[in-house]
Structures are given as C-alpha cells and as structure tokens.
C-alpha cells in the first residue's frame, strides 16, 4: 500500500499558480490593444440551453468585424463568462469582467435577477449593459442610461397574449406560471385585455421544481377554462403539459415560444403538445439581418435571445465607431444614433455599418430581433410578435404581427 502525501505548501502553491494565470495576459498593454466586450450569458443552470448559442453569435459577429479590419483600427475581443443563472455567481463574473478585463460593455444577461444584481456594477463603473431579461423593474432602476434591453417589456407581452386569447374567443382564461419577476405583470395585462372583451381570468402560481402538477391541474379543471396560458420555462412546462394531457383538458393552450420550443416538442409524445399556440417577440424572420445570422452561426431557427444578442453586439460595435471611443460612456451616448438615426441608411450588420459611419453617413440599424429602436429608459419601443401552432410535431407559423 502506498499512501499519497499532499502537502499544504504544494496545494497552496498550485492554487496561487492557478490564480496567477489570470494576471499574465493583462500586464501587457499596448496602444492598439483589442477593444474588450464581455458576454455574460447563462452557460449552466436553468438558462444553460440558451447561453452557448448566444456566445457563439456574439463571437461570430466580432470575428466578422475583425476580419474586415476591426473598429477604430483595433480588434475586438469577446470575453465570455458564465452567470450560472444565479445572481451571486453572476455578480462575481461581472466583477471579473469589469475589474480585470475592463470591458466596455456586457452583453446578454438573461435571468432578470442576474441582470438586476449586475446592473449597479455596470452603471457605477460606466459599463454598458445590454440585456435580454424581461422584468419591467429593470429599466426602472437608476441606471443613467447604461442599460439597454432588446426584450419587449412584460406589459407589451402580456397584452399580446391577452389579445390573442380574445381572438381565440376566450370566455374563461386560466394562467399557469411559476413565480417569475414578470408573472404578476404578465397576468394583469392579460386580464386587462380579456376583461375588455367580456371574459374572465384566474391565475395560479406554482413551484417550478416540482416533479408533478396534479393538484395544480385539478385546480385548473375546477375553474373550467376554455383557454389556458402557460407562463413557465421549458423544464417545468414539459412536466405541466403531461399532467394537463392526462387530465383530459381539451381547451386551447397558449405558451411562450421559448418554453414550448422544438426541443420540448421533440422530447414529449406528440399528442401532449399538439395544437398549442406559441407567442414570442418575433425575430424579424423576414429581415436580412436574421438571414445573415442564420448563415453566420449555422443554426436554423435561432431563439429570440440569440437574435437579440446578435443585434446588441452589432449596435455596440457601431456605437464605438460612431463615438470614436471605446469606453462605456461613449457607447451609451452614441448607441441611439446608430440604432435609430433619423433618415439614416438602413443596415443589418456592423461591417456594412462601419463603412457608412466611416464615410460620415448616419445609419439606422434594423436587426434580427426587430427594428431595435430604444426609448429614453432603455426599452425597445416596438416589437413584432410571432404566433405559431404545434402541428404534427412541428411548429407551424400562423402570423407575424
């Protein structure tokens, strides 16, 4: 028998060495050092399915711009960190991006709690934060313009759900949702639309980590709705849908497209998801930016978040060129002059946009997620929505409006 010895000194040395690897690249500073942009996406945790593709899109755009000569004569470096879909871990990651890498913008925060936790670090350090989170409260933070959001607010989304339910002739609507930052606002805006058409609504907030939702489904059946709205994420919605199917409910079902997505549809028996309507802020699928994105990252039907970060990185790069400086404050001040310049030439990518900006022409970016025009508080002012229905195990487009 041999026994391992494991000295304290050796262990501490190893850890210190590991920590020191972080110091090395940052001591080298040159005039034409790359412009650093942070990607803070959920690579693990409940947002794990989305993050990796989002980073891929961000890196692809940076690569494309770098190949065309970069911006302000400098290359762009994307530094990716994992927020673990957890605000505590997200803050640590953001601190590293801001304090060590000195990024001028952070893109792609997904969970609302992560965005809210990271936001103060960004506005205090003068770093732009571009997010895909939906909670209304985020843009109400005292962010001094450092937050822009490409995701439509819950108020807008709730109204669209309600209006669609009315189109389906709703009398009694039942709303299922886990406790999310937007559940309450979503429900009250659905209710507003449904009540206006003479219907009524009821909501049930459930725990998104339960293995079964029979008692919740029983409560729904007791109410006797003709339309139910599913406000959850993919994992809990899959479980809930199975229990709804078992209960024999035959009314209509409406869900977020990010939860009832192709992955969920493929993972459950076809009859469970048949006929579900899905609603999502529409990636501007007919737009040229969307088509470019698809060919750039080689992913068919990229999810809304990926289309949004594609727009975010393009906008940030063009804002840097427009401002002639790469710090967060300059990006903040310039971003609206590339996203919505009046009479600007319409562009769908930064490479084209940079050429126009260099020629002194105003640009108006039209992105893969939509027109990308921002209000003073940082919300997008308009968004199209995409309505689909599950038909034979595939999502069939009903309309984009």
């Amino acid at each position: 028998m041999s026994s391992f010895t494991f000295s304290r000194r050796g262990f501490m040395g190893g850890v210190a060495g590991l920590a020191a690897t972080g110091l090395v690249p940052h001591t080298v500073m040159a005039q034409d050092s790359p412009i650093k942009i942070g990607a803070l996406t959920p690579l693990t945790g409940s947002g794990g399915p989305y993050g990796p593709v989002m980073v891929k899109a961000i890196k692809a755009v940076a690569g494309e711009v770098n190949k065309a000569g970069g911006v302000l004569g400098r290359q762009i470096e994307i530094i990716s960190e994992d927020d673990q879909t957890n605000p505590e871990a997200g803050v640590r990651a953001a601190r590293k991006l801001v304090d060590v890498d000195r990024v001028s913008a952070i893109l792609g925060t997904w969970a609302s709690s992560v965005t809210t936790a990271v936001a103060p670090i960004c506005w205090e350090s003068g770093t732009l934060l571009a997010t895909v989170s939906g909670a209304d409260a985020i843009t109400a933070l005292p962010h001094q313009g450092y937050i822009i959001r490409t995701q439509p607010t819950t108020i807008l989304q709730g109204r669209k759900f309600g209006e669609f339910a009315v189109e389906q002739g709703v009398k009694k609507l039942f709303f299922f949702s886990p406790q999310t930052p937007f559940a309450e606002s979503q429900f009250s805006n659905i209710t507003k639309a449904v009540k206006a058409a003479g219907g009524e609504t009821k909501s049930l907030i459930y725990d998104d980590k339960k293995p079964s939702y029979r008692s919740e489904v029983d409560e729904m059946l007791a109410y006797g709705p003709d339309v139910i709205v599913l406000g959850g994420y993919a994992t809990d919605t899959a479980v809930l849908l199975k229990d709804i199917f078992r209960s024999g409910y035959e009314g209509k079902k409406i869900a977020f497209a990010y939860s009832v997505n192709q992955k969920l549809i493929d993972s459950v028996p076809a009859e469970i998801v048949e006929g579900i309507f899905t609603i999502a802020p529409s990636p501007a699928e007919s737009s040229s930016a969307y088509k470019r994105l698809v060919s750039l990252i080689d992913v068919q039907n990229p999810d809304p978040y990926t289309t949004q970060v594609y727009d975010q990185v393009n906008l940030v790069i063009m804002a840097i060129a427009k401002a002639g400086a790469a710090d967060g404050k300059s990006i903040r001040d310039a971003i609206r002059s590339v996203s919505q310049a009046e009479g600007g030439a319409v562009v769908d990518n930064a490479v084209e946009g940079l050429k126009l900006i260099a020629a002194g022409k105003p640009v108006n970016y039209q992105g893969a997620s939509g027109p990308c025009d921002f209000t003073a508080s940082g919300d997008i002012s308009d968004s199209q929505f995409r309505y689909e229905q599950v038909n034979g195990g595939k999502l069939k487009l009903l309309k984009i409006a």
């Binding site: 920590a19 690249p25 994992d82 957890n86 304090d99 809210t116 103060p120 409260a137 930052p181």
Partner: protein
C-alpha cells in the same frame, strides 16, 4: 485588478463567516445543517428590509443576527429529536421554505423582483472604491472577531461539551450535560453568524433576491469546511477563502484552452469544483488543517 481582489477578499470574508457558522454546528456538535442558505437569506432579508425602513445599519445588522438566531432556535426546536440524515433533510427543507416565502410573500420581500437599492454604509461619501475598501476592512474585522470568539469557544469547556455530544450524545447526557440546551444554544449561535453573513452580503451588493439563496451556496460552504478541516475554526476560515479563490481562479482557465467552446469551459469549471472536493476527500479526508484532538492525559500512577 485591485478592485477585483478587494471584491474577492470581501466575498471570501462573507463565505468565511458562513463556513465558521457551519463549522460550529457541524464540526462542533455534529449536526448537519444543509439549511445554511436559509439562515443566510433570513439575515440578508431582515437587515435589508429594516434598513430600507430607515433603521440605522448597525442596528439592522444586529437585528439580522437576532432574527437569524431566532430562526435557528425555531429550526432546532422543530428538529430536536432528529439526528444525522433526518436532520440534514429537514434543514434542507427549511432553506427551501425560506426561499419560497421570499419568492411568494411579495408584500414583504418583493417576490422574485428582489430587494434592490439596499443602503450601503458611507457609499455616497466614500465613492465606490473607498466604500469597497472600507467594507473589506469591516468584513475582515468581523471575520477575525467571530473567528477568535469561536476559537476561544472551541478550546473552552463549552467546546469540549459540544465535542462530547458529537462523539456520543448518550454519554454526554450521562455525564450530566443538558444535550438539548447545548444543541439549541449552538444552533442559535451558528444561525446568528449565518444571519450576520447575510446582512453583510446584502449591504455590500445592494441587491438580494430569492435566486441568491439557492442550495448552491450551501454546497460551496460544505466544500470549504470539508477542505479546510471539519471541527477546527481556522480550517473553516482557510477553506472558505480557498474555495472563493478556487472558484475565481478557474475562470481564467478558459483563456488557456481557447479551443473549447464557452459552454464547455463553464461545464469544466463545475466539474473542477466536484473534482476538487473528491480530491480533498480522497487525499486528505480530514481536511487541510484538521482538528487537533489532544491526547487524553495519562492516568496518574502511584509510585
């Protein structure tokens, strides 16, 4: 870079308080408290909410300790007959209950929006950098104070009774020690320290939400105490700082392996945390700074 180090050290201090809290209850009395995140949350919410209501910060933090201790008493009271695995499960349940209350009692906790804009001491006066430095000093002093107290406790007759209970509860009872009273006192003290850690975290970050208090943090602290050495306060202290540095240092690995996708790097980081725990358990199961048990004095022999 400097501000990042300051931040990491501050966070390390907060983890250290949690590790000391866990070491007291787990290393001391041998009660497995998987509900650490729950007490952490109770302290964070208590202090944040009363501070937002206008209570001065020192009083708010003191209140967080008291409410943490009260929660601890409540939890021990409910679980006093349970030991080992059963206690562990119940405490895990307690943490989830706290998280559910924080998530759903919107009138009190603002639900999943979380509590933002928590007052931070002298932040406006000192600016961000000055504040961070002050806070590091504050947290470090508190950690040192708690550490010295617990070390004193560990070496005192009180500490010896705790270890006697840990080793053999019946024997301790037989020796005339009130096991229930010792357990409740210790659990309350441990919960108060976790509550204090929560209060410090809230005022440092200025934002807390139910998502902050997922069981993940409890696992990190268990890793810290296991790696450091169960049953010895200095082990818990070292373990906590080590875990924070380990978590942060692994970030920089991605830069070495540029061929990997970001998703893979993130997964590797999580694997490394698990591997580190396995390595420690395999190579040095007693931890880096293990508990020192003084040999029993030799019986006096008559000449």
């Amino acid at each position: 870079m400097l501000s990042y180090l300051i931040f990491t050290l501050t966070l390390g201090g907060i983890y250290a308080l949690l590790a000391l809290s866990l070491n007291l209850i787990w290393g001391g009395v041998g009660m497995v408290n998987l509900g650490l995140a729950g007490f952490f949350a109770v302290g964070a919410y208590a202090s944040a909410l009363v501070a937002l209501a206008g209570v001065p910060l020192p009083i708010a933090m003191l209140l967080a300790c008291l409410i943490g201790a009260a929660a601890g008493l409540l939890a021990t009271f409910a679980t006093i007959r349970l030991r080992g695995d059963y206690l562990a499960i119940v405490t895990l349940g307690f943490a989830e209950v706290v998280r559910m209350v924080a998530l759903n009692e919107r009138w009190l906790t603002r639900g999943s929006d979380g509590v933002s804009g928590i007052p931070a001491p002298f932040r406006a006066e000192l600016g961000v950098d000055g504040f961070n430095l002050l806070y590091l000093a504050l947290v470090s002093v508190i950690v040192l104070g708690v550490f010295l107290t617990l070390r004193r406790l560990d070496l005192s007759p009180f500490g010896r009774v705790l270890k006697a209970i840990r080793e053999d509860q019946e024997l301790a009872t037989f020796a005339g020690k009130s096991v229930t009273r010792f357990k409740m006192q210790t659990f309350a003290l441990s919960a108060a320290i976790a509550g204090l850690a929560g209060a410090l975290y809230g005022h440092f970050q200025t934002y807390i939400s139910p998502d902050h208090f997922q069981p993940l943090i409890t696992i990190y602290i268990f890793l810290a105490v296991t790696a450091g050495g169960v049953g010895r306060p200095v082990g818990a202290l070292a373990g906590a700082y080590l875990v924070v540095f380990f978590l942060e240092a692994t970030r920089f690995l991605g830069e070495l392996f540029t061929v990997l996708e970001p998703g893979q790097v993130a997964a590797i980081r999580e694997v490394l945390v698990g591997l580190a725990l396995l390595c420690v358990l395999h190579l040095r199961p007693q931890g880096i700074l293990p508990e020192r048990i003084a040999p029993a004095p030799k019986p006096e022999t008559s000449v």
